[in-house]
């Protein structure tokens, strides 16, 4: 297994604030890599540089050996990177089935096709694929409901389904359990574990240490825009630098 995502010396400044300072990160293919750190550490900023939302001032972001910098978000997705947002980004006025069919079409037909001569109903194989993905995430029975009418938890799972139907090489998750009750969090952990077992590489930003330590094979700790530690989970817990930055010296 090689390195699927390689981040080297990335810097990003917002006015006087140095959001990312010489960030280095290597994500191994087929693993779950967690990025943790206190609020404002630059976690989301870093994730944004992976999907084309932000361009770093200096440094490089390589995915499977090609640079992701200066490439549009839709091109990055077509290369195999899918992202789940902190607040679910879904097609609120469409049905769940349509929500999942759209990414499936995007993967099959590319970023633009004037496909006005067939019917959505006639695309049985894609429809089946979308249905399977929905059922897999426990949303099969709600396939014909409007996405906006779903609960927050269902919306999150829907967004995950939209990413999974594309069979991404790299899945980026921004706080997948934020605002969830403990039971829901445990369900999400099980779900993400199942996804990880399929060999999909994941980068997870997370606040909840329970989630991080149940999922991640490797953890990077970000504080004030700098990676202060990158290690296996068992070593991170005891790292004094991490304790200092993250909890002001308190034990994890």
């Amino acid at each position: 297994m090689g390195t699927i995502l390689k981040v080297q010396n990335v810097n990003k400044r917002f006015g006087g604030l140095k959001a990312l300072n010489e960030v280095n990160l290597e994500v191994e293919e087929g693993t779950v890599h967690a990025i943790i750190g206190p609020n404002g550490a630059g976690k989301s900023t870093l994730l944004n540089t992976f999907v084309g939302r932000l361009t770093p001032d200096t440094g490089s972001v390589m995915f499977n050996g090609t640079s992701l910098l200066g490439i549009k978000p839709h091109e990055i997705n077509q290369a195999g990177v899918s992202r789940v947002f902190q607040t679910p980004e879904i097609f609120g006025e469409l049905t769940l089935l349509e929500n999942v069919m759209i990414p499936a079409f995007a993967r099959r037909d590319g970023s633009f096709t004037l496909n006005a001569f067939s019917t959505v109903v006639g695309e049985t194989s894609l429809q089946q694929k979308a249905m399977d993905t929905l059922s897999d995430l426990g949303l099969g029975e709600k396939a014909n409901e409007i996405a906006n009418q779903m609960s927050r938890g269902d919306k999150r799972r829907l967004e995950l389904a939209m990413c999974l139907v594309q069979e991404p090489k790299l899945l980026l998750l921004d706080e997948p359990t934020a605002g969830m009750a403990r039971a829901d969090t445990n369900n999400t952990i099980d779900l993400l574990k199942r996804i990880a077992e399929r060999g999909i590489t994941m980068v997870v930003i997370e606040h909840d240490m329970h989630v991080v330590f149940s999922l991640a094979q490797k953890i990077s700790v970000l504080a004030q825009g700098t990676v202060i530690a990158e290690d296996l989970p068992q070593n991170i817990k005891g790292n004094p630098k991490v304790q200092e930055a993250y909890l002001g010296g308190a034990h994890l």
Partner: protein, 381 residues
């Protein structure tokens, strides 16, 4: 929303075609069974169907669609002058010109969304209108409007078919069938049905689903690997072509084109038609176009004498008062009626007339209970 089956779409299309073709009979009791008005219904129906492909599916509200309508009209009249009085080449050129105009204006305007997009399209349309009025007079014949003249070359007609129109001004004719009266209406009706069918195909296609995704969440589209710009631009160009076709048809029915066709009021009218009928529905825009053109015809024809007769049951003093109040809403002031009608619809039926139809439909469904579900499957045979 349930995905409609192929059969229910076919039934809708057949019913639509039947209703349009039977238009002269259906509309006769309402005093609208004459060809001039029916042609208007059909032409504005086409305009609104096209507008709905942009506004209803992608949510981009264009306030400049009259520019494409005008471009189509001018192109069709030029086609009559230069090539042939046959409407087919004129309409093809009008559609192409509408599409080209839309491609240029859309390419620039779609860099922005929301209100900025609307303002940009409005600005472009007003620019086209002013150009047509002044600088482009050699092409548009300015204030007078572009008309046919006896000395027009009509190369194809004279050179290939050897038609000599003599000293009378010709009217457009489809292989010998004069495009006036009911012939003209049926020609428009056939094109309207075709346009409705194409719009239906777009609505049900993956492309149509992408357009609805553009309306809902462009951010998600981008992160899903889809490029939103070409989708929006394609919708804009298609609706521009519809507008060009409608403009061309206007010229076919009455071969002259004036700059006022490009004015912002004409752009606003198609917005009203679409919203009144039901944005994003298949039938809504056609119904909205019909309703507005019908009421325009009825109310603008009212005058004081008719009103006096209408209120004759009142005592004289009240009769005059009633007439002077009602008089504001008819004749020249019929736009006031349109305004009131529009407000009532938007406030009580935000989904337009089609929402009203759907509500009545639901009322019946609830009454009949399971029967509704059983009968719905019957047409599948």
């Amino acid at each position: 929303m349930n995905t409609p089956s192929k059969t229910s779409d076919m039934i809708l299309l057949v019913c639509f075609a039947a209703a349009v073709l039977a238009g002269p009979i259906i509309m006769a009791p309402f005093g609208a069974g004459y060809p001039d008005l029916l042609q208007k219904f059909a032409i504005f129906g086409i305009f609104a169907i096209g507008f709905n492909i942009l506004f209803g599916l992608t949510g981009y509200l264009s306030f400049g669609h009259a520019a494409f309508l005008g471009a189509g009209s001018y192109t069709a009249v030029w086609a009559f002058k230069l090539f042939s009085m046959n409407p087919i080449p004129a309409l093809i050129l009008a559609v192409v010109m509408g599409g080209v105009f839309a491609l240029i204006i859309g390419f620039v305007s779609l860099r922005r969304s929301g209100i900025y997009f609307s303002i940009l399209t409005l600005a472009f349309a007003q620019m086209s209108y002013n150009l047509a009025y002044s600088v482009l007079t050699p092409i548009t014949n300015g204030e007078t409007g572009l008309q046919l003249v006896q000395s027009d070359p009509r190369w194809i007609d004279t050179a290939i078919f050897g038609i000599d129109y003599g000293s009378v001004l010709p009217s457009s004719s489809l292989f010998g069938i004069d495009m006036t009266g009911f012939h003209g209406f049926y020609f428009c009706a056939a094109i309207l049905i075709l346009c409705f069918y194409v719009s239906m195909r777009i609505f049900r296609s993956p492309f149509g689903m992408m357009l609805r995704a553009v309306k809902t969440n462009q951010n998600r589209m981008n992160y899903t690997g889809l490029n939103t710009r070409p989708y929006a631009l394609a919708a804009f160009v298609i609706s521009g072509m519809y507008a060009g076709l409608a403009g061309g048809l206007m010229a076919v029915m009455d071969p002259l084109a004036g700059a006022e066709r490009m004015q912002w009021t004409a752009s606003g009218e198609v917005v009203l038609m679409t919203i009144l009928g039901g944005t994003g529905t298949l039938l809504g825009p056609v119904i909205g176009a019909g309703a507005i053109k019908y009421f325009e015809n009825i109310f603008s024809a009212f005058n004081e004498n008719i009103l006096m007769g209408f209120f004759s049951f009142l005592p004289e003093g009240l009769q005059h008062a009633a007439v002077s109040v009602a008089g504001l809403f008819v004749g020249e002031g019929w736009h006031l009626t349109l305004g009131v009608l529009f407000m009532v619809i938007v406030i009580f039926l935000p989904g337009g007339l089609m929402e009203g139809v759907a509500r009545i439909g639901r009322l019946f469904k609830r009454k009949s209970g399971d029967d509704g579900a059983k009968t719905a499957t019957v047409p599948a045979e």
